[in-house]
């Protein structure tokens, strides 16, 4: 007799789990960047269109498959069609790659969190050099926040080839991050269900606090105006639409198998249609909310930097020409500069290279995404606020909650198929399997704590999941619509939730979403082909900025392996099943 499948305590736990998984770091650090690059307020138009065409239907599809089949990704796709077991395996492989590198972000968040309990914050000013006459050389070339990120946190090597030593501090933080994840997934849905209450709601509390603080900061309005002025001409740029589509796609976490895993723990009568709509709307709303906060922070930081730049120029001129203190202000700077240039042309010409042209627009234009935004730009803004320790702690706790929430989904995607498999479940208990998975991931993740680890992180971040996921979801959609049959799927949904899906869902599943994914796929492939060699950004300590370098051969091989390892599972799975059936038929024929 089968042991009953563990269930969520109530539907709210399921919704919170999905929100906690979908609302992740991408909402905070990728969406504001895209908004800024592709036309500010105008970007919301392609974003919402893609949400309706692609996001909601695909999310509903995955949740419905999980809830109907009541299995993890491997078992679920095997039940749809035995030839599709490769799709489930590909999902598990991609989830495995993701969990390997994603927890490193939580390790960094822990590092910054632990360092927030100091006064002053360690990234507020440069450390002193050897003989205490000035700032440390590398720090003086860049800013204290960049120095703290690249030198004190990552201790980054100048290139990918210079692998460097393991950073024990980062290794400790990574171990702690994995221990925390293990604590949350130890008991399966029983423990995960309680944890997601916290990981789903705490980020919103912090975002609200930051919204209030951000909007009251000096200069925040500049950032908000900059963001929301729609530049509608960007809508003609195809990249805007493609970015909107990819953002919706990856933000919802489709194709990893996590949503199938979560839905498999549902009661069969759960209304997953309503939940799909709710989760996707909340995800998008959170992105917009987070970008309001981010842009008020941007505005504050840009205004602060602009005013510092102006004061530096004023000080320089005051000292060079021995003018009275306070006589030069931001208002009369232009006029006085002209006067000085006319009166003392030689002295002014000598000074010219040091006088920077301060521009608020230029400061606002520096668009950053990813770890740069989260750990450099935000920490720079935080250090200039009052009581920076409090805001720093709040912010990094929020990053941790977002990261842990996504990790819960990732590990569920790996563990659910493993615990579903009778072979493993009979030999090892749930706790041991979870422990093994966490341990293996932690050991492999130590690669990312080496000096060149951040470059490997970028490789995994850019290539491990992107192409493979598009292929996986494409195969999923086609499988459900054309292999399983949309009529049969309709009937299943009718049994589960009580009514058949409307024509909107059917049209999206059958035509719109697959076409969209195919075009995204084509775009990605052509982009890779056109750019030729793949390049990465390396930190040059001598210059104090990022420089572009080419990937060495073995790195390109790793990238190829990453993509192949997951995509090849799909055809391999189909071929293996075909071979097994032929063998069985061959064996059965002589008997019959």
């Amino acid at each position: 007799m089968e042991k009953s499948r563990p269930l969520w305590d109530n539907p709210l736990q399921f919704v919170f789990a999905c929100i906690s998984y979908a609302v992740g770091l991408g909402n905070v650090w990728r969406f504001p960047y895209l908004c800024q690059m592709y036309g500010g307020g105008g970007f919301l138009i392609p974003y919402f269109i893609m949400l309706v065409v692609e996001g909601m239907p695909l999310l509903y599809l995955e949740l419905a498959v999980g809830q109907r089949m009541r299995r993890g990704s491997i078992g679920a796709w095997k039940m749809i069609s035995p030839y599709l077991c490769g799709v489930g395996v590909a999902s598990v492989v991609v989830s495995f790659f993701l969990s390997m590198y994603y927890n490193v972000i939580n390790a960094w968040a822990f590092w910054y969190l632990f360092h927030s309990f100091q006064d002053p914050l360690p990234w507020a000013s440069c450390p002193l050099n050897g003989n205490r006459t000035g700032d440390e050389a590398e720090c003086a070339r860049t800013s204290p926040t960049q120095y703290f990120w690249y030198r004190r946190t990552l201790n980054i090597a100048p290139s990918l080839e210079a692998a460097g030593a393991l950073q024990w501090e980062q290794a400790l933080c990574l171990t702690l991050a994995w221990l925390l994840v293990y604590l949350c997934i130890l008991r399966g849905t029983e423990s995960t269900g309680k944890v997601v209450y916290v990981t789903a709601s705490l980020p919103y509390c912090v975002l609200i606090i930051y919204l209030i603080r951000g909007l009251t900061l000096h200069g925040a309005v500049n950032g908000l105006i900059y963001m929301f002025t729609p530049k509608l001409e960007q809508l003609a740029n195809p990249k805007a639409w493609i970015s909107a589509a990819t953002q919706i796609f990856f933000s919802l976490g489709l194709g990893f198998g996590s949503l199938i895993a979560f839905a498999s723990y549902n009661e069969p009568s759960n209304n997953c249609e309503r939940h799909a709509v709710v989760v996707s709307l909340i995800n998008s709303a959170t992105s917009i909310f987070a970008s309001i906060v981010t842009f008020s922070i941007y505005g504050f930081k840009a205004t602060f930097n602009y005013e510092s730049c102006m004061s530096k120029v004023i000080l320089l001129l005051t000292n060079a020409f021995d003018l009275e203190e306070g006589s030069l202000t931001a208002d009369n700077l232009g006029a006085v500069q002209g006067h000085l240039q006319a009166a003392h042309p030689q002295r002014y010409a000598e000074l010219q290279p040091q006088l920077k042209n301060c521009s608020l627009e230029a400061e606002l234009d520096t668009a950053v995404q990813g770890t740069g935004l989260a750990f450099i730009v935000y920490s720079e803004a935080i250090k200039n606020m009052e009581v920076p320790q409090l805001y720093s702690v709040l912010y990094f706790v929020m990053l941790l909650m977002l990261g842990i929430g996504s990790m819960l989904g990732n590990t569920a995607a790996i563990l659910t198929p493993l615990t579903d498999s009778k072979f493993i479940a009979s030999h090892l208990s749930k706790e041991v399997v979870s422990g093994l998975v966490c341990f293996i991931n932690c050991i492999i993740g130590l690669i990312f704590t080496m000096e060149a680890g951040n470059y490997w992180f970028d490789i995994f971040n850019d290539y491990a999941a992107t192409l493979s996921l598009l292929l996986i979801v494409l195969v999923e959609t086609i499988a459900v619509c054309y292999v399983y049959g949309i009529r049969r799927f309709e009937k299943d949904l009718h049994t589960m939730i009580g009514h058949k899906p409307s024509w909107y869902w059917k049209v999206m599943w059958a035509f719109a979403s697959p076409l969209l994914i195919i075009s995204l796929f084509i775009f990605y492939i052509t982009d890779y082909i056109l750019t030729g060699t793949l390049q990465y950004q390396a930190w040059d300590a001598a210059q104090g900025q990022l420089v572009t370098k080419d990937y060495p051969g073995y790195a390109l091989a790793v990238i190829g392996l990453l993509v192949a390892a997951s995509t090849m599972c799909i055809p391999l799975g189909a071929l293996l099943t075909l071979a097994r059936r032929r063998l069985r038929r061959g064996r059965a024929r002589p008997v019959a």
Binding site: M1, E2, K78, M79, S81, P82, F110, W111, L113, F114, H115, F117, Q118, P120, P127, L128, N131, R132, T133, G134, L172, C173, L176, L179, L180, Y182, L183, L186, R187, S191, T318, N319, D322, L323, E324, E325, G326, S327, S429, E431, Y484
Partner: protein, 226 residues
């Protein structure tokens, strides 16, 4: 007599003018930012403040070389601007019309920088001696880095949580095993009255309604999909 005195005076003044001028040998430029430091409480820079400055430099020289020969009149100021910046030079009272070596003056100022700053209610940044760099006080560092303490706390809490969950899980499973073995014993005692056929009690097979055979239900994947 008067003419001699006038001549001598003009010679001295002329000599002093030669000694103290911008970029002269052993001369230092000083820059004060009084308004930046004190805001509304800023005082105006006038002759009295200059006198105080001369006195402080003379004091520094006396303390450094510990011979009480430097007088206030040995310190010469010139080229005072609106910025408030000026040049100063220290003449040697022993030798006539020569300036004290720049290195000595620098060392003396460095030694007494704190006293000079506080006399003017300023700091190293707002009272700048342009050629004399100041050593910056290092930040206070605690013996154990703070982050390790917080790390240790969080680590202990997490490990305690894991151990607690694992132990309660093992205990629960032991209890379940004990309960199921107890029900098995109970069944064995009652077995005498119930006839068992292939491990299934005969009563359940007598149901009028159809009975789903568990063996076939899980195997629907082996059948071709319709």
């Amino acid at each position: 007599m008067l003419r001699f005195l006038l001549l001598a005076f003009s010679v001295v003044v002329f000599a002093h003018a030669e000694l103290c001028k911008p970029d002269a040998q052993n001369a230092f430029k000083v820059r004060l930012s009084i308004k930046t430091a004190l805001g509304d409480n800023a005082y105006a820079w006038d002759a009295n403040e200059e006198y105080l400055f001369k006195a402080m430099v003379a004091f520094a020289m006396r303390r450094y070389s510990s011979k009480s020969t430097t007088q206030i009149s040995n310190v010469l100021l010139c080229n005072v601007t609106d910025r408030v910046s000026f040049w100063f030079v220290v003449t040697d009272s022993a030798k006539n019309v020569t300036t004290v070596a720049g290195s000595e003056v620098e060392a003396a100022i460095r030694m007494n920088r704190n006293r000079i700053n506080s006399a003017f209610l300023l700091s190293d940044k707002t009272l700048q001696f342009l050629k004399i760099s100041s050593t910056i006080a290092p930040p206070v560092e605690p013996s154990t880095p703070v982050w390790l303490i917080v790390f240790g706390v969080v680590l202990c809490l997490t490990v305690a949580g894991i151990v607690f969950l694992i132990v309660t899980g093992i205990q629960r499973r032991k209890k379940q095993n004990k309960e199921s073995s107890e029900t098995e014993d109970l069944e064995e005692k009652c077995e005498v009255t119930v006839t068992i056929e292939n491990g299934i009690p005969c009563e359940t097979l007598d149901l009028k309604a159809g009975h789903i055979n568990g063996v076939y239900a899980a195997d629907d994947e082996r059948f071709a999909s319709l």
